[in-house]
Symmetry: C2
Subunit: 360 residues, 2 copies
Amino acid sequence: MTTLNVELAERSYSIYIGAGLLSQTELFQRHIQSKQVLVVTNSTVAPLYLAQVLAHLQAYQVAQVVLPDGEQYKNLQHINQIYDQLLAQKFSRNATLIALGGGVIGDMGGFAAATYQRGIPFMQIPTTLLAQVDSSVGGKTGVNHALGKNMIGAFYQPRCVIADTQVLTTLDDRQLAAGLAEVIKYGLIRDPKFFCWLEEHLSDLLARDPSALAYAIEQSCRNKAEVVAEDETETGVRATLNLGHTFGHALETALNYTGLLHGEAVAIGTCLAADLSRRLGWLSRVDVQRVVDIFQRCQLPVALPAHLTPERILDLMAVDKKNLDGKIRVILLEAIGQATLPVNVDQNVLVETLVHYGRD
Amino acid sequence: MTTLNVELAERSYSIYIGAGLLSQTELFQRHIQSKQVLVVTNSTVAPLYLAQVLAHLQAYQVAQVVLPDGEQYKNLQHINQIYDQLLAQKFSRNATLIALGGGVIGDMGGFAAATYQRGIPFMQIPTTLLAQVDSSVGGKTGVNHALGKNMIGAFYQPRCVIADTQVLTTLDDRQLAAGLAEVIKYGLIRDPKFFCWLEEHLSDLLARDPSALAYAIEQSCRNKAEVVAEDETETGVRATLNLGHTFGHALETALNYTGLLHGEAVAIGTCLAADLSRRLGWLSRVDVQRVVDIFQRCQLPVALPAHLTPERILDLMAVDKKNLDGKIRVILLEAIGQATLPVNVDQNVLVETLVHYGRD
């Protein structure tokens, strides 16, 4: 087991990474300070891992919420199902919420924990690669709104993150690739050596070599933990973690949170950000091609869905959280391994990129 | 103008108290750091004060949300109306939200600000006595759930509070009395001299003597600011501000947030807490009578609505935020001017109090 710490003073916590952690009762009990525990999961994960988690909790008053699986259910209406259960069970402010699932469950469970009685303790047990390397770490919680992705939310840190690499064996290939999109992101924004390692070992990762996966998860979490420790509430460098996400979120919203997985939308968005960086004179054509190539080797999409117009995407980008006073701002690349802070971009150049990537 | 400070390190802010502050443009502009401003108010306050506030904002991109007036609308469904407007206007994370109204508007505006894009700046402009002395100060925001009052929320501090005492002239007598219930609370929990002053000057307050009202507001806000500075997220002494509220919230929930104003429910609840304190051997009959008397002089209710059974109230008290592991805990009085921290109470004694106060 590897333990990484997210250093946030009194909100600090550990990320545990290793094979078989879901069977370690002690790890659960160490982080539960109350008698009441609510497990939030979804209909895909529940048959696979819920019983294993509940087995550790026989000494507690336990309740569960099983939500439908999918980004399209990440909304206030489904958060209400969690509140309903917490209140029906008369759960107190010291109750612990366990989010067992992928990024959607982590975001929803975290937001419910942040807002139930103005905040109760919670634990993240990410069951997808994407959640293990990105969304479970750093305390971003929230839900989507019909007009914008992740528009409702809170910064709220978990008590711990338990990333059992064993669970990745049940992940389908598409989910694995979507997670790799966020792994690749860390290389692109701040870790050029890691990016080179990824280029070299991508086939090991796609073949689910356990040690390659463990290394990639550790490096990703280490990068994320460092950025979050430096800038918890995204007043500066944390925004770089959003490389590709301004485009990506607009795509997800345009498609009503169906059709593209989050990591797939980020892959497309990152290709667009790389192209835009080239048009602004920062990135070479060769480097843009390296970005596109690595996503393509993962079988990730690298072009816009055909029916989306540049106007529609621009309109949705106008509500991104990085914007100020309504002006669109995006993260760009100054090099492979170095991202910019949010940059106001000339709308004409943005349109050129959108048109270029809309052709395929 | 009196300025009080709530000392919370980087979240510190000022409470401005005085007659005519709503006409001071500078006060508004000093606390707005962006071009986008959303004013949230209700249908009672809008005709009275919205134009006056908007007059200061002609240089900004301004939007407004006018909600229906009443505690029964303080729910997620109506918070959604605020999100809808923020997104329809493409408001960014540096937009400012102004909550113009009583406690309900302050709680809802604050919660929307806390959760839109994980937090945008907001200002409190309380227009009722209750909001000026209590709910606008301290950063408690949130909404009700059908199963419990204020069960969904966040701690989120405003950038400033502007309490214009002039607005109290348009307040109806019932609202004024409800506000006095919270004023009296500060005397009861930590300021025995202030309680004596209130007993002496209650008729001046009921006659809306401006200097008496200003003094009462200042003393209330000073008390509140001191408690909040000591314990922002209610891990200790802040809970004493909840004197009478465990009973009060249960009553409000039982009545579906209609029928009793919040301050009225608190008046009843405080009488019950005083009675319970006597039954446990802390408060004398004479002191309990002082508590009941001062509320009665305000024409506030001091007994339970006839149709509510002790069982129903107990059931609702079981989801109060002060509870731990599902056990009911209430704030009691050790003396006039001194409250306890939350206390586990023998359910039989609780029932005695509920039965006793249900007779009237």
